[in-house]
């Protein structure tokens, strides 16, 4: 508990050594249409950054820039620099496969593979060659499930299909799957929007725990959720970054009028 209160009160100005990802002047185009306009922001390590804003404001698109998932969409084009550990991830020499093994992602709808629970978790470790033996693999699966808080629920049925779990369990399975690759950053695209309140609370708790070891970025449409789990918040509107700052500041004393309007529920 003590540990937690310490990290949730970061220094007022993020120093360079705390910045995990530094985005500079990002523009995203879908064909002719521009979806993101000149966004720059630092994202801090070992903390949770929340993206909020009305739907269609580009927060998911921006999130997908950070592991280059936009590459998979025909006609999408990203301009600008995203510096992670000193290198621009949009550089043509950067391998998206390698990048994605360092920047994991959890999606809006739980998407377990139609395989067993074990295979779901083990998949990433297998393709990246993280385990040298079977016991290694079992170890990775167990640690990941433990970290995702799913171990006790599924340890007796690791061979049953992942699609048979409940929605909340499926989402934690997906988080465990992302953890198993041992990433540095975990991106979450509205991870609770398809879940009921109890499952949501469970995931939020998990996010809070993960913060100690990962850099987390979470897109959410729920301001309460952003307030509960994040340390920093960025407010997007119409593809532009309106305001970014410490969560407490943003929610108590936003500097921008539009942020104020959104937070107090006047639009959105």
């Amino acid at each position: 508990m003590l540990d937690k209160t310490e990290t949730s009160q970061p220094e007022s100005a993020p120093s360079d050594k705390d910045t995990k990802i530094d985005c500079r002047h990002i523009d995203v185009f879908y064909g002719e249409k521009q979806a993101i306009f000149d966004i720059s922001m630092p994202i801090r390590d070992r903390s949770v950054t929340a993206f909020i804003g009305p739907s269609g404001c580009g927060k998911s698109t921006f999130l997908r820039c950070m592991n280059r998932m936009n590459d998979t969409i025909d006609g999408a084009r990203v301009e600008g620099e995203i510096i992670m550990d000193g290198a621009d991830i949009n550089d043509p020499t950067v391998d998206p496969v390698l990048l994605r093994s360092r920047v994991g992602m959890v999606f809006q709808k739980p998407n377990p593979f139609p395989k067993s629970i074990f295979d779901n978790i083990a998949y990433g470790a297998r393709i990246h060659g993280l385990a040298s033996s079977k016991s290694d693999l079992e170890n990775i699966v167990e640690t990941s499930l433990v970290r995702a808080g799913l171990w006790d629920e599924v340890k007796d049925r690791l061979a049953s299909p992942g699609t048979g779990l409940s929605g909340g369990q499926q989402q934690r399975l997906c988080i465990a799957r992302a953890i198993a690759v041992n990433p540095e950053v975990i991106l979450m695209d509205e991870p609770c929007s398809a879940l009921d309140p109890i499952a949501t609370a469970r995931i939020e708790e998990l996010i809070d725990e993960l913060r100690e070891q990962y850099c987390l970025v979470i897109v959410t449409h729920s301001m309460q959720q952003a307030a509960r789990v994040s340390q920093n918040t960025a407010f997007f509107h119409l593809g532009k970054l309106i305001e970014m700052g410490e969560t407490e500041m943003m929610f108590t004393n936003p500097s921008n009028q539009r942020t104020q309007d959104y937070i107090t529920g006047r639009f959105g």
Partner: protein, 472 residues
């Protein structure tokens, strides 16, 4: 008069009389409705005058048409037996087959628009008597049909008033017609099953029939001479060629589908897909020509080259001018678009979120396809392959033109083979009598072919349907 009536084309008779009855009734129904006084300015009738007209036309034309149909079904046999009974005894004492042929000739002669006398008095008289009989029966039918039409007309007229819900009845009639159309599909299947079963039973009861066991497990096939009806060589030939075809179609179709759905840009896709579909639009007889003229000689020289290699025996491959390999290769090419478009459908039905999940973990696109997309799409792909196999088994023209006629059991793909469909064509082309074991064996083969493909199709369609439900 009777002679003229006997000569008119029955189709014209039908159309003319039905049209007249229909139009008259329609007109009567419509005008009687339009003239009927409205009981008040706001009163609305349930149905427009036209519907009253349609109702009347229906009332009159349907019974008349039923009489027509009854006539078409029954009259032929009746006229025939009547004519035979009137023929002199020495003609009737001919054998059943010859008598049949004689009467057939009579019918043919009488059906001519302007029959010339043949000089044979008996024949000419019988022919003219046949036309007369026909005229009589048609007159009777016309009278009956008119009577039925009139009865329907009167019935309809009595129902007609301003409040009558003519539209409901007309619509019921329309839906009835629609249902009949849909039922034709069932009738077709019934027709196929019944005729195949019926002729197959006749085959097993006919002289020279091998019995069920001999048919299914015999290893000698010489149906043209009517001696041996063992189908094992045909089954094996069919299987070998289908296997060869699938060896071409399955990997190529599947990989094209994967490339198109997972890698190709929209522009490339827009170009390649129609080109692949072109392959599906080419008639099978063209493929057969290609197989026989281009591929078979190439296969033969290839086999001869292999035979001439120092480390192979000179008789390793039989290198026939017609070969199972040529037919199989070309059939495979024909089936490529079939496999690729069906697999494309099932691959596209795999939700994008699954792909995203794998990609976001750092899987390469090919790993995503192999480990996530294909396992998810597997049931659908298996169903697609099953449908493709069923098509390969039932394909006819390519094997007829390129595979050969010799029934033999061999695993050498460069030798000529024969298949079920080739034998059906060989047995039924040209003039056929429907009572020899030779002809009937074609139906027994058809029955086997139909059953096998039916089972494949049923399984495949069931799997596809389940699969669709899962991801919808």
């Amino acid at each position: 008069m009777l002679q003229t009536l006997g000569h008119i084309q029955i189709g014209w008779l039908l159309i003319a009389s039905l049209a007249v009855t229909g139009f008259v009734s329609f007109y009567v129904g419509r005008t009687s409705m339009a003239r009927a006084p409205a009981s008040g300015p706001l009163e609305r009738s349930h149905s427009q005058p036209n519907y009253h007209g349609y109702f009347m036309a229906m009332c009159a034309a349907v019974p008349a048409a039923l009489i027509f149909i009854l006539y078409l079904v029954l009259s032929g046999g009746f006229i025939r037996s009547q004519l035979v009974s009137e023929l002199p005894d020495y003609v009737r004492s001919l054998g059943a087959l010859e008598l049949d042929q004689y009467v057939d000739r009579l019918f043919e002669h009488a059906a001519m628009r302007d029959p010339q006398p043949t000089g044979n008095d008996l024949f000419d008289a019988a022919s003219s008597r046949l036309t007369e009989l026909r005229g009589q029966s048609r007159l009777l039918m016309l009278i009956l049909a008119l009577g039925a039409g009139l009865a329907g007309f009167v019935y309809g007229l009595r129902k007609l008033n301003r409040q009558f819900r003519a539209r409901d009845y007309v619509e019921m009639g329309i839906v009835g017609v629609l249902f009949l159309c849909a039922a034709i599909a069932i009738l077709t299947t019934l027709g196929i099953i019944l005729s195949l079963i019926f002729e197959t039973i006749r085959f097993f009861n006919s002289e020279g029939s091998p019995g069920l066991f001999g048919f299914l497990f015999g290893t000698e096939w010489n149906a043209q001479t009517g001696e041996d009806f063992g189908t094992v060589p045909l089954f094996l030939g069919t299987l070998l060629i289908a296997l060869l075809a699938m060896c071409v179609a399955a990997p190529i179709g599947l990989f094209s589908a994967i490339y198109l759905s997972e890698y190709a840009s929209p522009t490339l896709r827009a170009w390649i897909k129609p080109i692949l579909e072109l392959l599906a639009g080419i008639p099978t007889v063209v493929y057969g020509f290609f197989a026989a003229m281009v591929v078979a000689p190439a296969v033969r020289s290839g086999a001869q080259w292999i035979n001439s290699l120092p480390f192979t025996s000179d008789t390793l491959l039989s290198a026939q001018p017609q070969s199972a390999l040529a037919a199989g290769l070309v059939m495979g090419i024909m089936i490529i678009p079939f496999v690729s478009s069906l697999s494309d459908d099932v691959i596209n039905a795999v939700p994008q979120t699954l792909r995203n999940g794998a990609l976001a973990m750092g899987a390469t696109p090919s790993e995503t396809v192999r480990n996530v997309v294909l396992p998810a799409a597997l049931p659908g792909i298996i169903a697609a392959l099953l449908l493709a196999v069923s098509r390969a088994i039932g394909e006819t023209m390519i094997v007829v033109m390129a595979a050969g006629q010799r029934a033999q059991i061999t695993a050498d793909p460069t030798s000529d083979l024969t298949t079920i469909t080739v034998q059906i064509v060989a047995l039924l082309t040209g003039d056929t009598e429907f009572d020899s074991a030779k002809t009937l064996s074609a139906f027994a083969l058809g029955f086997v072919l139909f059953s096998v493909t039916l089972i494949f199709n049923l399984i495949a369609l069931r799997v596809v349907q389940r699969y669709r439900e899962k991801y919808d």
